[in-house]
Every structure is written in C-alpha cells, then in structure tokens.
C-alpha cells in the first residue's frame, strides 16, 4: 500500500475511507438487527471485503452499471445507495431500495446504476456482459461491472461471460472477490487452478490477482481497467484475494470449516485499519498525516450518526401494503391496439410474416438487436433474419458462440440497460440451457425491482414434432413457461397472427417467449401489409360452431381445422378456438364458447401432464362448471421423449383420426 497513496488527494483518500466505513458500520448494525430478529430473511455481510467495492466503484458514475451477488450490501453502498434505503429494505419496509420485495439478496437502485444483487450465484457475470452490449449498441460510453465470489468463478456463467466479453470487446469489469470459501467449501478444494486472475489469458483478456484488502491497489488497477473499457479496449478480469470475517450469513455457524485463529488473523488485516495505517507518518509528512487522521476520525463520527439515522428511518418506515403484493409482475398494458382489419389479398408464409415484422420494427427502433447462432450473414437457420444483416450490420445482427445460457443471460442485462434484445435460439430445446436465466432473472426482474426495470426481451425459436427431428429438436415446453409469472408466452398458428403478435412483442416491455412451430413455418395465409399489432391475451375463433368447443394451438389448429368439415357433415358443429397466447390466456373466450356448446376438447401437441391443456380444463371447471354437459376431454401428445423413426414419431402427436374419434366420443358423453 505504501507508495500508492501519495498521488491521491486527501479528498480522494477520505472518500475511499468513508465508503469503507459506511459499509462496515452499516453492516455491523445490520448484524445487530439480525440478532434481534428485526431482519426477516438472510443477511450475508461483506465485513472484511469493503476495499473491493470501494476501490472499483470510485471510478464509476451513475450511468455505469453494477451487477452483484448475494453478498451485495457493499456494492450497493459503494455505488451510492444511502444506508437508510438498504436498511429499510432488510427491515422489509416500503421505503427500502426494492420496496420490500427483495431483502438482502435483491437490492435494486437502477436510478444510480445499481442494477441488482442476485440470490443466484453466477448470472451477474452474464448480465454485466449485457450492460456492456447495451453500451455498444447505444454508444453511450458506460461501463458495466460484475462483482462475484470465488464460487461463481467455477460456474459456467464465468466461462461463457468472459468469452463473450472478449470476442465482442465489451466494456466490462469482472471483479472476483475471492474470500476463499463458497459457503463452507474452500476454493482450494473447488478449483483445479488456484488462481482466478490468471484465467484471463484463457479468454484473451487482461487478468489481475490483487490483495483484495488493499483499497489503494484495487483503486489503481480498477482505474486502469475502467479507462480501457471506456476506450473500447474491452474487458478486464480482476481477482481480489480477501476474506469475510463474519459467518457466510448471519446466524450461521462459522467454525466447522475454518478456525478461529484464521478468522482472527484476517481481522487484523482489516482494509479500513490498513488504510488508516498507510497514512501514518511513515508515508507522509507529519502535517498531512495528522490532517488525514483527523479527517478519518471525523468520518467515523459522521458515519456512526448516518447509520443511526438509517436504522431509525428503517424502523419507523411503513411496511408495504399487502394489497400491492402482486403489483409489477408485468408492465402496464400498452395503449389500445387495433386488430388487423382484413382480409388481405396478399398471401405469405408464416416465416415471411415474422421476418417482415422484425425488419419493420428494427427499422424504426435502433435499440433492437438480434443474437443467435447463424443469424448474421447466414440469415438464420429458419431464415428468421434473412437479409437483415445487410440492412442493420453485425452489431445488431450478432452471431454468437454456442453458449445459450450465456447469451440469454446477456440479453437480461441488455434489457435492464436500455436495449431490446431479440434472442433467436433456433430450437426451444436449445434454450433450456438458459432456462434459469429466463425464469430466475428475466422473468422476475421487473417485479423484484418493483417495476423500475423494464424487461423488453424477445426470446424466439422453434417448437414442434415432425420430420424425424428426434428428441432434441422437437420439444414445445410452453406449459412450463406458462407457469412463470412475468413471462408472456406466444404460440401463433397463422402467418397473420405471427406478424401481429411479433410486432406487439417487439413493442411490449415484458419478456416474451415467441414459439414458432417448425411444421407450419411454410404455411401460407393472408397477411396485412404494413403496420398492425395483435395484443396478447386475445384468442381467435378460427371456426364458429354450436356443439363442441375445441381449443388448440399452433399446428394443432391446422389439424382440427382439417377435420371440422367432415364432422359438420355428420351433424357435429365444431367451434375451434386458438388462444394464440398461452400466457396471458384468453379464458373468457373459451368460457363463452363452452357456455354455448357445453362441451370442451383440448387438442395439444406436448404431453398433457401438468400442461396447457390441464390449465384450460381447470379454469373451465372453475368458472364454467354449470355450462358443462360432458366431462372435459384432452387429446395430447405422449408423455415420452420424441423418438426418431417415423413409425415411432407418428404415435407421439394427435392425428386426424384421433381428433375425429375424440370429438365423436365427446358428443356421446
């Protein structure tokens, strides 16, 4: 620490000291409050590691973005969050930084670039890449920082994130706080390579290994890294070796995996005491040293007062009103949208319709960018981006490495920081590698930030069984996604619906999963030229009928349609409903139809178990029980992975004969 202090001003030294003290004293008060039972959930303190957040965040302004972990109090405070906002959050009050939705592990203050802490180890690394990508698209010079522990360094997100940041030269700092334990598992045990810093070279980026308790050293190295990032020279990995001197989380035992002596020794290596020591007379002339000591003493007193006020504020703040508990799951409804006024004389395919929608929207919204494998020059495996590369260039049509989790996580961070990513994942099966990012991060982000983060992410790709694609290229999964609050799930069946719904998705501020059945991509239909939107949650009556309601999506709409005439000749009049969106689901339209017919069949391609068909059946029993003149029937795919051989594949999916039989049978119930 010795020489590095001398070129810093007293103000700077004072502000580094102050930030570390704010973190320390705030957390010690939090620990006391936790013991008293005033804090309801987990509380992971940063005591002993304050130098890292302090040294790094000193170089950031409010437009720069920080993505953090479960041990995030220090990052939030260093980024500028007032202690009272943090305390109130841990007390579960409506004045907390996440208005009581988050607690210790979900701290949000996007207004100052504190983009959130996370209860999941790893994703912050990818989200910071997204922050970096937004910086490139928006060209606004901001820098993104990921703080994470040594545990996260062995998570796949680390690998995928560092590689993406490297190849796209993203303005990102990866700050690994190696406190030597992941909960109780020593890093020395969990890692084949004892260094994190030297892994930078594996990704072709600068890597450093620092004393994480030396705030001045961190300040210096982080300063260089931020400057490199702002200059467009790409990311930096900085490992800060440190130690937490309190238990993993408050209330947890500490001496089953480490010794009291080890902890005591690290307490002596306190970063705050270290900074005090470094301004001693050995390094400074007497006058300057005395002035700094006095300044530090004054800071101690001020911070004590600040923390006391923060606690009083937290304790006296109101608790959130229970009625608001489910607010902010979704963004506000967009303004009224016009249904397409048809019919159009022009006939195009489903694929052409979505390409048209994407191209039109990219032309008017420069924040839209597309990521996926082969979606650049190649134009997409399913021609989803054909010709767009030439129009909008490589940054907005960005080919990716094969790292689905990585680029889905990146999309999350990008959406959080002002761009509108379109993730083209080709097959729905592939994006399962990013399922956690979709479900835990993308879908929950708006809510956890109490509505302050918009999440305009469009995730699109193919679903559907057919042409011997076998089990890794044929899943639908929309029932699973339909269970996730915060997501919109769209499954169109016609070209016109596909265009209108995709346009709506590209204007909506919620994450949308847009699933396109591969076997109907070439199906043609009339599609209105130019601008129109189809809102979510409004189903379509594909065919009017009187005797039986059939609900279906995607290819099953075509299948049911194809047998309806035959049934009509038998005297069975089918009303076919395509809800078009799985979430939100147009329950009213289905109920109205069942009110008319008294009978309901759901024909669905994926397995029935716990699925879309089960949900519809449950809702109709719930709200339309008195309208039912027969049991609700489901005709669904087999509960089985999809096999290859046509003879096996054929029996996976409902076919025309089965639909006919199911409807006839339902009529005789």
């Amino acid at each position: 620490m010795a020489n590095s202090t001398q070129n810093l001003t007293n103000e700077r030294l004072g502000s580094l000291y102050r930030t570390m003290q704010v973190i320390r004293q705030t957390e010690e008060e939090l620990a006391r409050c936790h013991q008293r039972g005033l804090i309801h959930g987990a509380c992971h303190t940063y005591v002993g590691e304050e130098a890292i957040a302090t040294g790094v965040c000193s170089h950031l302004n409010h437009n720069d973005v920080v993505f953090s972990t479960h041990r995030g109090h220090g990052h939030a405070l260093a980024k500028g969050m007032p202690p009272k906002d943090l305390m109130a959050e841990l007390f579960g009050r409506s004045t907390g930084c996440s208005q009581g939705r988050g607690g210790s592990m979900h701290l949000f203050s996007p207004e100052i670039g504190m983009m959130g802490t996370s209860g999941i180890v790893g994703p912050c690394i990818l989200q910071a890449c997204g922050g970096g990508y937004s910086s490139k698209i928006l060209n606004n010079g901001t820098v993104a920082v990921a703080f994470f522990g040594d545990g996260a360094a062995n998570n796949g997100a680390f690998h995928e994130g560092l590689n993406m940041a490297s190849i796209w030269k993203l303005p990102v700092l990866f700050i690994c706080e190696n406190n030597q334990y992941a909960t109780e598992v020593p890093f020395s045990y969990a890692s084949g390579n004892p260094s994190v810093g030297n892994r930078g070279s594996a990704y072709g980026i600068p890597g450093f290994e620092l004393n994480g308790n030396d705030v001045l050293e961190i300040y210096r190295v982080a300063g260089d890294a931020v400057a490199r990032a702002r200059a467009g020279q790409g990311p930096t990995l900085i490992e800060c070796k440190t130690y937490r001197t309190r238990a993993h989380a408050e209330g947890m035992g500490d001496f089953t995996y480490r010794t009291r002596e080890e902890v005591e020794a690290w307490k002596l290596n306190c970063p705050i005491a270290g900074l005090r020591k470094s301004v001693g007379v050995g390094n400074y002339d007497l006058a300057r040293s005395a002035e700094l000591v006095e300044r530090f003493d004054q800071i101690d007193a001020e911070v004590a007062e600040l923390v006391k006020e923060a606690r009083d504020y937290a304790e006296s703040s109101p608790v959130p009103v229970a009625e608001t508990a489910t607010n902010h799951v979704y963004g506000p409804q967009l303004g009224p949208v016009q249904d397409p006024v048809g019919p159009s004389s022009r006939t195009i395919s489903f694929s052409q319709a979505t390409l048209e929608a994407l191209s039109e929207e990219m032309a008017i919204n420069p924040t839209i960018f597309v990521m996926g494998e082969g979606i650049g020059k190649r134009g997409g495996n399913f021609v989803t981006t054909k010709g767009l590369y030439d129009l909008y260039g490589p940054e907005r049509l960005c080919d990716t490495p094969i790292c689905e989790r990585g680029f889905v996580g990146l999309a999350c961070g990008a959406a959080m920081t002002g761009t509108r990513p379109v993730i083209d994942f080709m097959f729905a099966d592939f994006v399962l590698d990013g399922f956690g990012e979709i479900v835990n991060q993308i879908a929950k982000m708006r809510y956890m930030s109490s509505g302050r983060l918009k999440m305009p992410v469009l995730l699109r790709g193919c679903i559907g069984i057919g042409h011997s694609a076998a089990t890794h290229h044929s899943g639908s999964y929309y029932g699973m996604y339909g269970q996730v609050p915060g997501l919109r799930v769209v499954v169109p069946s016609s070209a016109e619906d596909a265009k209108g719904l995709l346009k709506h998705a590209l204007r909506c501020d919620d994450p949308v999963l847009f699933l396109e059945h591969r076997e109907i991509l070439q199906a043609k239909g009339p599609v209105i030229e130019g601008d129109f939107e189809i809102p979510f949650g409004k189903g379509r009556i594909v065919r009017q009928g009187r005797h039986v309601t059939v609900v279906a999506l995607a290819r099953m709409v075509h299948l049911v349609s194809s047998v309806s005439d035959e049934l009509e000749r038998e005297g069975i009049s089918v009303e076919l409903i395509d809800p078009r969106t799985v979430s939100p689901l147009d329950t009213d339209l289905i109920l109205e139809s069942v009110h008319k017919t008294g009978r309901l069949l759901i024909v669905d391609e994926p397995p029935g178990q716990y699925g879309f068909s089960a949900e519809i059946a449950a809702r109709v029993v719930d709200e339309g029980f008195n309208d039912l003149d027969a049991p609700i029937k489901r005709l669904t795919g087999a509960f089985c992975p999809t096999p290859y051989s046509p003879s096996l594949e054929n029996v996976m999916v409902p076919n025309a004969d089965q639909v006919l039989a199911a409807i006839r049978e339902l009529m005789s119930e």
Partner: protein
C-alpha cells in the same frame, strides 16, 4: 445499556435452547467475543457479542437448559458505571419473528381464499343421499334448476345414464334445439322427444275422435274496433284476438251445455264443465314445436287478467320455461293461424276436449250491407272442429253461430266483464 437477546440461527428458527454463559456476570465483554452458547435447529453455537459492555444477568433470566424464543432477553451489557436498576426483569420481548406487514399479508391471502369460496363447506346444501341419485352433468343440473325440473327422477341418455342438458330440456317440455342426436352420424332419421310427444297426442286424437270441421265467415269490424279502443286505453296491455274470444267462450257455454263437456280419463263418458272450471288452451307455436298453455278459470276472470296470464304463459312457452302443469286441465282450445294469412283450416281436437276453434286472418273486404250499400268491412273466418262422437252437428253448428254472433258484437260481453 444493551440487551442480549436470543438470535435467530437459520431461516426458520423460532426458539432455541440456552445452554450456558461463556462469560461471568461483571465481566467486561468486547465485540466479537463468544458470549453464550445456544442450541438452534441444527447445532450448538457459540454466540459472539455484537456489543461491548459489562455483563449483567438479572435474577429471573433464563437458566441453562431453558427454551427461549428468538428475541427473548438473556441479559444486558452495561456501560462502565451504569446500573441495571429498572431492567431487572426478563420477560421475553415479543419474539420479533413476524411483523405486522407479514400478518396483514397472510390475512389478506386467507381472506381472498374465503371470498373465492363464498360459502363454507357446511353451508353448501347437498342432496341427502348422494349415492342414490343419478348422475347429471353440471349443465343439466343448472338447467334443471332454471326450469324447475326435478332431475333426480330423469332417465339420462349420456354415458352410463348420465343426465344431460337434452334430457332436462325434454322433461321441461322444451325441445333439444340444435343438438344433434348421437346416431346422426349413422345417417338415420331422428325425431326430438318433444316432437314425438306432439305426434303421439295428435295420433291419439285421430284414433279416438271423429272430427268434423265447420267454417263460417263473420264481420269482425266491431272486434277490431274493440281491440283498438282497448289499445288506446292501455297500450301496454293489448289483448290478442284469442284472449277476447277466450273470454266469450264461458258466455256461449251457458246456452250450450252439450258443448261444455270433456271426455273422462277412460275416454268412455263425458263430464260437464262447471262455470268455474272453464280452462281454455291457447295453441302456441314455439321454436320447439306446438305447445298449448292453459289459462285457468276464464269464466271468473276479466279480459285484462286473461290477457296478462296468457301473455305470461306464451312467453314461458316460447322460452322453454313452461311448467308441465300449465298445459293441463284445458276444456276448450283456441288456435290462431291468422298471422300466416290462413283463412280456414281443420284444427285437430286436443283430447280430452271435444272441440277446438280456429281463427283465420282478418281481412278488409267489400261487403254488401243489409241496406244494399257496399262497404269496406273486416272479415274473419272461424273453423270449429268438434268430435262427432261426443256431440252432433246441429248443436255444434249452433255453438259456432253463437260464437260468431258474440264476436261480431263483442263489446256487450267484454265490457260487462271488464267492469
């Protein structure tokens, strides 16, 4: 002075076992020093002091081995020179494990569940012996309630005898409109149960009666006038021609006892109809077929009342809500095909009645008046079918002649009965 309380070890800990002090009363304790041992859910832990001070343990503090709730008071850390005076009792603080917001939320959730249920299970009335009831679809049960049909006695036509909507519709006398029958797909002709019931009745009439139809055309100018006048005086309750004619029948019956009869249940003998039992059927065309609701005791009622009642019955018939009982007990029926432009026809006798009167269309025609002048007058043709087995032609003809006369000058009868 700082309180020493039981901390929460782990997320769900509500209480812990106080094991022992690691410091003695009066010891100076510094921050981070182990202060006491506590057994939580998982393990025994040494709890470090979060404050500094001199340990003071009140006399009534928890003893080693006692279970203490989270937040419960163990003792105090005093500043040098501070006395413990007013803090000598250690009733546990309210364990701060839940806060009001939490309870409110829980209450709100519980409340939401309650309102969605509406009633508690015990309030919901269930049929006593559920096991012995037949099975009915929810839609059928709902409809049965609407139509006031007792579905528990019906024979269901659905799978395993399940009672379906169509079964209730039949029982209520309302056809199963728009529903295809199950064997439609085999290409067989079908007939609705409603239609079948009508057919059976008509067939019985053909088999058991000897119908003869008499027709006569009369001057209806006064009838039309009367109706106009009534319309003026109360536009909201305008009688139909059938209502007016129905009100004339009791008057005519008085001088035609041979006509004022019905067959007995064996169809062997004729029963006279007393004046207070003159129930008159009105044939109504409904979406589900011909129905004949019966206006009770017309002989005792004003035209106004008859109009009100018939209107209600017709409405019920047209909407499928006509109770079976409202179609029973008729002694005479009036049927009107005038609105179709029909003049004369052969109405079929509605057993056990012995006669039925058909009303034709009212037309304005040139008529040679008694004084030789030709005038435009309203004319109507009446068609009376009577059962020759019950009565001969002459009495029937004179019955029709008197009806015709009354209809030609209805005011005398009607206005009397109105007031």
């Amino acid at each position: 002075m700082q309180k020493i309380t039981i901390p929460r070890l782990g997320w769900s800990m509500e209480e812990g076992k106080f094991i022992s002090w690691l410091k003695k009363p009066g010891d100076l304790v510094s921050v981070g020093e182990p202060l006491f041992e506590l057994e939580g859910e998982k393990s025994l832990q040494e709890i470090e002091s979060v404050e500094a001070g001199i340990l003071y343990i009140p006399a009534d503090a928890p003893l080693p081995g006692e279970i203490v709730p989270v937040g419960g008071l163990l003792g105090y850390l005093l500043e040098p020179g501070e006395s413990p005076h007013s803090h000598s009792q250690s009733t546990p603080e309210p364990a701060a494990r839940s806060f009001t917001g939490h309870d409110e939320l829980a209450a709100a959730v519980v409340k939401a569940n309650e309102t969605s249920l509406g009633k508690s299970p015990t309030e919901i009335d269930r049929p006593e012996n559920l096991a012995h009831l037949p099975v009915a679809s929810p839609r059928a049960r709902h409809l049965a309630k609407q139509f006031q049909v007792d579905w528990s006695s019906l024979q269901g036509t659905g799978r395993d005898g399940r009672i379906r909507e169509s079964d209730v519709q039949e029982a209520s006398g309302r056809g199963a409109a728009g529903r295809p029958s199950n064997n439609a797909k085999q290409g067989l002709g079908t007939i609705s149960p409603r239609r079948k019931a009508i057919a059976d009745r008509l067939r019985a009439s053909r088999d058991l009666t000897i119908p003869v139809t008499l027709t006569t055309t009369i001057d209806a100018t006064e009838l039309v006038h009367l109706r106009q006048r009534l319309k003026h005086s109360n536009p909201r309750l305008v009688p139909a021609y059938t209502d007016i004619v129905a009100c004339l029948i009791p008057w005519i019956y008085k001088s035609h006892p041979h006509m004022a009869v019905v067959w007995d249940t064996q169809h062997k003998g004729l029963i006279p109809v007393p004046h207070d039992q003159i129930h008159i059927g009105i044939a109504v065309d409904t979406p589900d077929g011909l129905l004949v609701p019966v206006v009770q005791q017309v002989g005792l009622k004003s035209l106004q009342t008859v109009t009100q009642e018939s209107r209600k019955l017709i409405e019920q018939a047209r909407t499928g809500r006509l109770p079976k009982t409202a179609m029973q007990g008729g002694v005479f029926t009036i049927t009107n095909l005038g609105s179709y432009g029909i003049e004369a026809f052969t109405p079929i006798i509605n057993l056990p009645e012995i006669a039925i009167l058909g009303l034709g269309a009212i037309r304005r025609e040139p008529v040679v008046m008694p004084d030789g002048q030709i005038m435009a007058r309203d004319r109507i043709t009446l068609s009376l079918s009577f059962d020759h087995a019950a009565v001969d032609g002459a009495p029937a003809a004179s019955f029709l002649r008197d009806i015709a006369a009354a209809m030609a000058d209805p005011a005398a009868y009607i206005l009397n009965s109105v007031h």
